[in-house]
Symmetry: C2
Subunit: 361 residues, 2 copies
């Protein structure tokens, strides 16, 4: 057998399905996982779908010490006509490989990633929840497996995909959230790892998230790490402002994560003829527009929520109410269009969705 | 038994000892490890010395995804009179807990850390190498063990200590190294995690280290992330300059790691009456002093090398030779004094060393 051929070992001990009305996010995992290994001699090899199982690692394995990991997040949807759809998965492969490049991890071929993912989904297809708003969250990740305490890129890695049936992000409808503008802590800076989906970027935000939660806000608004002036991201989402009919989102500046939902929204807005600009936007510019009553809508974008409307910014002792804490019309239309395309309800004129057929590739 | 009492399970299958002349760094590990667990109900509990063994984790364990880890590094030395000495281990506990605080990890009591470490060393005492320049490297680390993909601090953790007999950092004598001044990549920035010993800080430096290696330099000189002007660290060491008889090291500014060797050197220099200042120092200031022939010595400091003399900086196309690529007198004296105290050869007037007795605490 070729070292590139995917082997499949099915579980003999399938798990009970979780209640589709109480899935939450990332709590339940399916019966199988996809794994492949890397070493310098063989490259990425031995792709396989195996029963979902623990990973056993020597305590000196580099993953515990120097954080050389990358991951991705995407979803599979069960369409009304019974198809299984992925949303722009090739963009996740591209981003994974950009993350790999930043972290000195060997890149993964698109074909190896996508055929592994599709085979895994085929095996666990009946785990895709079908209730409105639910989906199958897909978490590909790479970890270094070399056992050695030298501070250097590992010589061996494991690429893993696990699947988690997840609930609706908005079980009670979209609800705009309060956001704390963070001045003390920094998410990322030019020259750092902010554009990569790597583990260290996420734990770095916990302290600021704790401050936000304690002040009653749901999320953090990250400012740039240099001047603490320009808006970068909200929580782990990208952010958009609708001001005077124009949509503005921070430009990719070397520290912002390049969201695939972000990219899709820009393309949708362009298609709709709504002016959309990627540029620097300072919090001061937002405040000025706010005071002049020109701010119409603000929303975060990401794989988990798709669109998350911002109802309020809190900056020091001042609160800035957005659109009277209501979800704006554009936010609603974008949410409905993107989720409609993702779930096959709306015709996909962009060719964004990829169907996972029942068998074969 | 109290949940704080350390249990000891000895291996029945001890490993062969590695060749003391070819230990390298972090390649060999002893027969046992120390582990304790944390959950919200019990706090840190079940401290135990057990045979060195793999850690088995669900693939959805947070450590693989969001990098919420911290670690420490220190050494145990075999003294000429047969004692086992630690160097300022309480400073490692303090720093671990500062790292924990930044990463929202529950802190560890000094007593739990030190009694666990001492018990482990007692069990594996005959693993401490005795050849000149060798030591037992100690790696305490904490990883999150909760199985969940939500981006938030874990509710459960594992604290682990592993031990690695390591070789002399300078088997052929101290050798000054070339350092590449890094302008593109950033190690850390104010408000980030640079002061914490957390995994994500280390892999973030691999790209710059690769550039340095490709240009023939041994290490990276990190500049501040905001102006790319002020000197921060060298590789994963702190850095000192001797200019006109005065020793200068970058002040702790919220992005530099607070080295325990750094701290000890400052205290030694003060004791010796040599002027030492912690302040901002720009690379331009170094260049000016260099051009005026006022730079006498430059050296990095850290647990692994203790003192690592800098023989040359490379900045774009310019090379700055330090002290004609020779190890300076102060570097030598500091190296001999610190390693002399660590190994019990020099009387420890500071009370820095802590003896691990044969039994009991």
């Amino acid at each position: 057998m070729s070292k590139r051929e995917i082997t499949v070992v099915r579980t003999t001990n399938g798990k009970a399905r979780p209640d589709p009305n109480h899935l939450g996010f990332g709590k339940y995992f399916t019966d199988h996982m996809f794994v492949m290994d890397y070493d310098r001699e063989n490259g990425w090899h031995s792709p396989r779908v195996i029963p979902y199982q623990p990973i056993t690692l020597d305590p000196a394995t580099m993953v515990f010490h120097y954080g050389q990991t990358v991951f991705e997040g995407l979803k599979a949807y069960h369409s009304q006509d019974g198809r299984t759809l992925l949303f722009r998965p090739e963009k996740n492969v591209e981003r994974l490989n950009r993350s790999c490049s930043r972290l000195n991890i060997p890149e993964v071929e698109e074909e190896a990633f996508l055929s592994g993912l599709k085979t895994l989904i085929q095996v666990d297809r009946d785990w895709i929840p079908t209730t409105e708003g639910t989906s199958l969250y897909i978490r590909p990740f790479i970890l270094p497996t070399e056992t050695n305490l030298r501070v250097a890129p590992a010589s061996s890695y494991k690429f893993v995909i696990i699947l988690s049936p997840v609930g609706s992000y908005y079980p009670e409808g979209i609800n705009p959230v309060g956001i704390n503008v963070e001045k003390q802590y920094t998410r990322a800076v030019l020259g750092g790892t902010g554009t990569a989906k790597t583990a260290g970027n996420y734990c770095a935000g916990y302290k600021a998230q704790q401050k936000a939660s304690e002040s009653g806000a749901a999320q953090v608004l990250w400012l740039d790490g240099i001047e603490k002036k320009y808006i970068e991201e909200v929580g782990s989402m990208n952010i958009f402002f609708k001001i005077d009919g124009e949509v503005v989102t921070p430009q990719l500046n070397g520290s912002i994560l390049e969201g695939i939902t972000r990219m899709s929204i820009i393309e949708l807005l362009q298609e709709w003829g709504i002016p959309v600009t990627e540029r620097k936007i300072s919090f001061d510019e937002f405040v000025k527009a706010y005071q002049e009553e020109r701010v119409e809508e603000v929303f975060g974008t990401g794989t988990a929520a798709v669109i998350s409307p911002v109802g309020e910014f809190r900056y020091q002792d001042t609160k800035y109410l957005i659109n009277n804490r209501q979800t704006g019309d554009l936010s609603k239309k974008l949410y409905e269009t993107i989720t409609g395309i993702q779930t096959g309800k709306i015709y996909d004129e962009f060719g964004w969705t990829v169907e996972v057929k029942s068998s074969g590739m």
